[in-house]
Symmetry: C2
Subunit: 364 residues, 2 copies
């Protein structure tokens, strides 16, 4: 198929640092190319891809100090897509809201993955207006706050199978916490669970400006208090395999409606189980007793740490291979592209490109 991938411009595809959406767009794009599709990626000009890149801006917006307002650049993105829309059998948007009025003329070939949380008061009236447009959720739970819309499907995120190598034997294991220091990620729970379990805890996390007060008042003092807790700051993609792979388990003690939770499948790829609180997507991602444990209290989490030896790390990785590779994600999306109401087949597009009308085909 001839497929357009339309990425946000905040980060490059893939992102240099954080940027979950841009990372997934990259994995999906590269895998679609690998599977033989003709893919065009609309993204910031510092993106790196084996697809055709349509560069909208020189660099990712978040890295450009001269950028005040991201909206004008996303309008330029839309205009580039509009000019070329007729070329594509399917157009896949990852920018949430901004394209819906413009894509109505080719909505039958358009699909939108919603990458964020949807429990915001401004969204129901918006999605009621665009109720016919094909949407993809990244977990079933993510859909709960939404009005009736046209869900094309849920497609769980996936990672390239070779991105993170599994480590089946772990010596001197520790509990790992990876993400942002923020109240909804509950690093305080992670610290208490580790303390009560008598296990070391390593926290690899960034502290955003908005979370600085929470860090100083709640988390930094707690880390001081427990000698078994080590804060190692931000880590990059290359350091993840080691950080997650050498851990006995990932702690994911969240307290918010997580739409997907990429770090759980990153751990899974490393063969590391996750102990996660039952919130948002968690029960859809973790198979309880297989790839980790789903808990509902700190007591249950402490008991789960004691039960970790019952899990087989090879089976954790097998769960990843079965459900969370980029190959599976791309295949899911291609199936959805084919099911779009206005999807064009390669043959139909080739006929159009040769200037042969559909009517002629009926006669032939």
């Amino acid at each position: 198929m001839k497929i357009a991938q339309i990425a946000p411009l905040a980060e490059s595809v893939p992102p240099l640092l954080y940027g979950g959406t841009e990372r997934i767009v990259s994995y999906l794009t590269e895998e679609l190319v690998r599977q033989g599709h003709d893919v065009t990626l609309f993204a910031s000009g510092d993106s790196r891809t084996s697809a055709e890149l349509v560069p909208i801006t020189e660099k990712a917006l978040r890295l450009n100090p001269r950028v005040v307002d991201p909206i004008p650049y996303h309008m330029m993105l839309l205009e580039e897509v509009r000019r070329r829309a007729d070329e594509f059998d399917a157009l896949h948007f990852h920018i949430d809201l901004l394209h819906h009025p413009m894509t109505q003329d080719f909505a039958g070939r358009t699909i939108t993955t919603l990458h964020g949380r949807l429990d915001l008061p401004d969204l129901p009236p918006f999605y009621r207006t665009f109720a016919d447009n094909s949407l993809v959720s990244i977990s079933d739970h993510q859909r709960l706050p939404m009005p009736p819309v046209n869900w094309a499907g849920t497609v769980y995120h996936g990672l390239p199978a070779g991105l993170l190598s599994p480590r089946f034997q772990v010596e001197d294991g520790y509990l790992a916490f990876l993400g942002r220091i923020s109240p909804e990620k509950r690093p305080d729970r992670a610290i208490r669970i580790a303390a009560r379990s008598g296990m070391p805890l390593r926290i690899a996390a960034k502290v955003d400006a908005v979370d600085r007060a929470y860090w100083e008042s709640d988390i930094a003092p707690l880390i001081e208090q427990y000698p078994n807790v080590r804060f190692i700051g931000e880590i990059n993609e290359a350091q993840k395999a080691d950080f997650l792979g050498r851990a006995s388990a990932l702690l994911f003690p969240i307290d918010w409606p997580e739409p997907f939770g990429l770090v759980m499948i990153e751990a899974m790829a490393c063969a590391t189980p996750t102990i996660a609180f039952r919130c948002g997507s968690v029960p859809e991602v973790i198979d309880h007793g297989v790839s980790g444990f789903i808990v509902e209290s700190e007591d249950e989490a402490v008991a789960a740490v004691a039960d970790l030896p019952k899990l087989d790390r090879a089976i954790v990785r097998a769960a990843f291979d079965a459900r969370f590779t980029a190959e599976r994600m791309a295949a899911d999306y291609v199936a959805l592209y084919h099911d779009l109401p206005g999807a064009r087949t390669d043959a139909a597009r080739l006929r159009r490109e040769r200037g042969e009308g559909a009517g002629l085909q009926v006669v032939a």
Copy 2:
């Protein structure tokens, strides 16, 4: 003509309190209706108009505490416009950026008034992308930072002739400052000019949260220092005629590229001259020595205060009647609508509505 006016949703049309853009959209809409045009106003549901109102939201976004993100509502606005776009001979947008990709299919009947300052780094690449779309500036000076675009014209704002009554005799006059307390409006200059002139100064202004520190450190102490200065806080539309009309002059000592400066023509309507610093639109709005004085320093401003008796307030009002009524503004816009490359005449639209093709007309 059948005309669509598309307003921002931040405030109602007209706004309850502040909202320069929504106020102008209201004056224009009501005057177009008065001149016999068929006008449809796309705006928040609490707007009041004699045109057909297409209500997008129940209330203005800024008055609704549940609104976090204004973007989804503006996308809903665009979708309503798109669904009905074919009805209109001309579509007039007042929302700056968001509509450009969507309106490309009917760009020949679309015109956009730019209501804000344009010296922002994100705008040149945007407007280069949409260089063919018809734009209207609200002063010639406003265009300076822009790349080459398709300027349809400059249309100065206008007020209904009866909105503010002129007052030709003023006793115990004072100098007036009306607006926001912010560094670019330079209330400090106004205070010093009044002090040096030995004239009372009345400041009617709001203090936004963002300007609170400036108010407390710079302006409040200065007001304390001078007994001839009175701060009277915010005033509403009804109080303006009195506040401006009883003044000997409006001080407009700005220090930024003002795109238009509505308060200058409000004063003019009250027959009150303006002493303004040469910035932005000022030389286009004020006729030096006729409707006020244009100055370049505080010394010149103090001299101008002494020269106020040389100005005839009846001639100040005559300058308003000649150049800044809503009637003149609407006539200017109608001329631009007719000149749009894709403008439809009433006759052409009626033929379309009757289902008569253009081809038939050629034969007839």
